[in-house]
Symmetry: C2
Subunit: 393 residues, 2 copies
Amino acid sequence: MPFIRTPQNTPLNNAPISSHAVKPQVSSIEEEDRVLAAGMLAQNPALVSMIQGRLGKLIGRSSGYIESLPPVIRRRITGLKGVQKEHSKLEADFQEEVLQLEKKYFAKFKPLYEKRRKIVNGIEEPSEEDITAGTAEGEDADETAKMDEDNAAEQQEVDPGIPEFWLSAMKNSTSLAETVTDRDEAALKHLVDIRMEYLERPGFRLIFEFSENEFFTNKTLVKTYFYQEENGYGGDFIYDHAEGDKIDWKPGKDLTVRIESKKQRNKNTKQTRIVKRTVPVESFFNFFTPPKPPTSEDGSQAEDEELEQRLELDYTLGEDIKEKLIPRAVDWYTGEALQFEELEELEEGEFDDEDDDDEEASDDDRDEDDEDSEEEDESGKPKQQEAAECKQS
Amino acid sequence: MPFIRTPQNTPLNNAPISSHAVKPQVSSIEEEDRVLAAGMLAQNPALVSMIQGRLGKLIGRSSGYIESLPPVIRRRITGLKGVQKEHSKLEADFQEEVLQLEKKYFAKFKPLYEKRRKIVNGIEEPSEEDITAGTAEGEDADETAKMDEDNAAEQQEVDPGIPEFWLSAMKNSTSLAETVTDRDEAALKHLVDIRMEYLERPGFRLIFEFSENEFFTNKTLVKTYFYQEENGYGGDFIYDHAEGDKIDWKPGKDLTVRIESKKQRNKNTKQTRIVKRTVPVESFFNFFTPPKPPTSEDGSQAEDEELEQRLELDYTLGEDIKEKLIPRAVDWYTGEALQFEELEELEEGEFDDEDDDDEEASDDDRDEDDEDSEEEDESGKPKQQEAAECKQS
């Protein structure tokens, strides 16, 4: 056959903004260590020797081939490595210039985002120019005219702006939709704006602005992604860690937990008492308490993998909000942006997430102690979605 | 649960060079169609109506929600679409500026690539500065000194340059390695250089330079990737198609085919005759006859998928050569670059490709006609790798 199965190494999504940040996998962490090691050699030989030990596991895949070459050829290879180092410096400069270019264009995008914010929140109506520009070729011009006539009559009765704009946009976004629970929606309806800012150091912050609501007192919730100071292999920026704002939940309104009330009956006295405990639950708002990258070598391999997955998801969500949701929110709101997602993504995104509801395992524990157990979330509403999930297992 | 399985929508590899080109999937083809449609509306309404029919399948996921909104709100949404169009123009400008930045840096990389070419081919020895820069921290300085002493003595006996530099680099690259057969290696040993150039229009060409060899007369083999003239959604460049040089194979040396000789015995006369036929085989050199993107709607879904996969592989190979192999060839040669590949990629790349040897199905056909069949490739050498694969099925 002339062609083989594809090794899936094309980028699955195409970041519209181009300076890259990659998650600090084993590989890039090692690279980072190497860069650090170079600077810290004199100060801390023990550290360097530890790092070299770790590197040894990965380097040397050539399994002796290069070592077996005549010295004069090895010398040429060493020379090429020197040339490559010059190249790497240029690559880092390039990524830096791309980042500056991003910032330059971000400044041009900003007034458009501001206009969007005003239209979405009913502070401003769109201009005739924007409506003409936004009317698709072939779309009924009469229809638009008709809207105009109806306007005056309707204006009073209709909500200002575009209701649930950001919630709807999030629910159409493949990765974000999966984090939004039914309970979250009541809070996310209050989203006034989602925007971003670049940090002074490499990184960015995502700002979620809310109108007054029954859930928390924060006016904005901010999630900040920090890149490492040193560029990685090929000049890419590397994620360092993320931080989120503490959410000031109003009493009994924390969407990231639920209260389990259990009636316990004493087997001897037959008296009952009610025990309440707080159980963490799935919620978009967990986005603001991101996982911490591993700092040392402790942790089992399974734990490492789970943490790695959680970190990857956290970066993915941040990246999707920065590169897709914010730049083209109206296309997410209408659902048109979905057609530009690569198919693999859609399939995986839509049909994942059925099994492995680990936290439901606690169901089994409840019967043990002759106790009636009742679940209620803090707002007292039934949790339909999660109930359905329980039945599956 | 606070975190769900990852929907794999982070870029699996991080392109060091940043203006994006994406393969023209259904989605981006549709986008392209839309752009074309806008310009061609007046000239060809039938075409536009056909295209709109296709778009209809994808757009409208909101299933009536937006249509159900009061006209004044729909008007605001139309206004936001207008704002979004301004944003799209800026995004295209941004991608254009990134491409210019790429070209600016490419000019800085070029002298380094030229130096590499000279060292690899024994035209020049590396400078002392390059060797010092290329000597890793902690690496034995005495060792390097020792190389120097040995140099004079060895210089005569040893090959000039770095033998099989590009072949070894290719064989360490996950995606490329899978395309290189045992037979190909004899030809790829003659690679003198792999380099790239940007086209005047959006796109690039990969240039494979060979020394004189027994396989073909071309001094260079060129593969050109063309992007579409219009940017796609989010300003990305979109692959249009690729073209490859015709390879002038020396007689009997075509690595992309093999000659099957079959002895056929006439059942009545018991006389035998030998029938030869040319069968296409897997070879890296098929890279120069890339698949053609679909132009119309014919073709079954299975055919479409197969073509889509072949196109994706072709783009992946081109991208990997442009973004990974050429920029950091020495790291591929030594294998060090592998550690910076994302793990998923390695796993998939290394353990794929076992089953589904479709073309081996012809084995079954041969017995039917009472014929002895013998395979030989044109050079008469046994094809160990392929033989091994046959046994598995």
